[in-house]
Symmetry: C2
Subunit: 211 residues, 2 copies
C-alpha cells in the first residue's frame, strides 16, 4: 500500500488525494505540517532532499516527489492518463504550465493570504506580481476552456487535477473570477466528476466507505 | 518534419535543440525573438496562447508548448526517456523540480543579467531571492549528484537535459559553483555525451553534417 506524505491544506498534496480517491486506490496518509517545519527534519529530508510535500512512497524506501510526477505515477494505465502520444504531451504541457505559471502565483497568494497569519502584510510587495501573473495564467486557461470542456482529450485527466488544485482556491485569495466564465464552469464540471472529493476530505472516509 | 519555434539564447529552447541533435532528428528552425515581442503577435498567440518559446509543431496545426513536455514528446521510445514506471516518475519529478525551483531563479537571473541591458539595475530587488533560491536548488542537485552520475537510471536522459539548460549558464549570471563539485563534474559529463551541442549551435550545421 502506498504511503502519502501530505499536508491537508496544501493544494499540491490535494492533487494526489483527489487522484487516489478518483482511482479508488487505498493508501496510508501521513500528515506533515510544513508550517511547523515537519518537512525539514533530517528524517523527512532523507526521503525528499527538497523538503516538500506531497511525497509518495511507491516501494520500500523509494519515494516520488513533485505532485504532478506523482499524478502520472498513480494514474498511468487509467483513463486519467492519456495514452496517445500527442495527447500525453498536451497533458504534460498543461502540467508544466501549472507549475511554472499558475502555482507560483495563485499558490503563493493562497499560502500567504489564507494559511499564514499576518501573511498579507509580510508579502505586500510580492502580492501585486502574484495577482498580475495569476490573472495572466487564468486568462490562458479561459481561452482554452472557452472551446473545450476539459484540458486534454475531451475528458477529465491528470491535467485537470493539476490545474484544479490552485484554480479552485483562487477566490479565497482575492482573485475575482467573474471575468472567467469558462474557468468557473470547468471548476463546477470537475466537482461533479464521479469520485470527486474536496480539499477537507480525509481518506479515512474512503476506507470506511470501501468496507 | 518538425518545425521548432525557438530563441537562440533561451535555455528552455536550447533543451529541445540539444535533444533533437542527440536524437539526430532534423527539423525546421524558426527564430522567435521574444525581446522584440515576436512571441506576442496574433499569429504566434494563435499557435501558443501562453506566448512562449519553445513551441514544436508536431503535426499540421498541432503545437506542443513547454520545453519539458516537448522533451518527452521527441524522446519517447529512445534511451533518453526512461521506460520503467518508477524511473519515468523520477525523471518527471526532476523536470517539475527544474521548472518550479531552478528555472524561475537561475533562468530569471540569466535573463535579466545576461540578455537585458540594464537588467541588473531594474531587477535589483528580486535578485537576492533568485540567488538564494537558485543556490537552494543547486544544493538539492549537488546532494543527488554526489551519489549518482546522472539524475535517473544511471545514464543521460531528458531529466539531465532539462536541468543542464539553466545550470550550465549559472556562472554567467553571478552564481559561484565552487561549492558544488558534483554539479560541476556532471556539467562536464553532459558536455562529453555523444551528440552534445552547445547553446550557440544552429541546426544548419546538423543538416550540412547529415548530407
Amino acid at each position: 500500500m502506498y504511503t502519502l506524505y501530505s499536508m491537508q491544506r496544501s493544494g499540491n498534496s490535494y492533487k494526489v488525494r483527489l487522484a487516489l480517491a478518483r482511482l479508488g486506490i487505498p493508501y496510508r496518509l501521513v500528515e506533515v505540517d510544513i508550517l511547523k517545519g515537519e518537512s525539514r527534519t533530517p528524517e523527512f529530508l532523507a526521503k525528499n532532499p527538497n523538503g516538500q510535500v506531497p511525497l509518495l512512497e511507491v516501494a520500500p524506501g523509494r519515494h516520488i516527489a513533485e505532485s504532478n510526477a506523482i499524478l502520472w505515477y498513480v494514474a498511468i494505465g487509467s483513463r486519467l492518463a492519456p495514452e496517445d502520444r500527442i495527447e500525453r504531451a498536451e497533458a504534460l504541457q498543461w502540467m508544466f504550465f501549472e507549475q511554472h505559471s499558475l502555482e507560483p502565483n495563485i499558490g503563493a497568494a493562497y499560502f500567504w493570504l489564507c494559511l499564514i497569519k499576518g501573511g498579507r502584510e509580510l508579502q505586500q510587495h510580492a502580492l501585486e506580481d502574484w495577482m498580475e501573473n495569476g490573472y495572466r495564467a487564468l486568462g490562458v486557461m479561459e481561452m482554452h476552456l472557452a472551446r473545450h470542456d476539459f484540458f486534454v482529450d475531451g475528458h477529465f485527466t491528470v491535467a485537470d487535477i493539476a490545474l484544479y488544485a490552485y484554480a479552485h482556491v483562487a477566490e479565497q485569495c482575492d482573485f475575482d473570477l467573474s471575468g472567467y466564465p469558462a474557468v468557473r464552469s470547468w471548476l463546477k464540471r470537475i466537482e461533479s466528476e464521479p469520485g470527486y472529493v474536496d480539499m477537507d476530505w480525509q481518506p479515512q472516509e474512503f476506507a470506511a466507505a470501501a468496507q
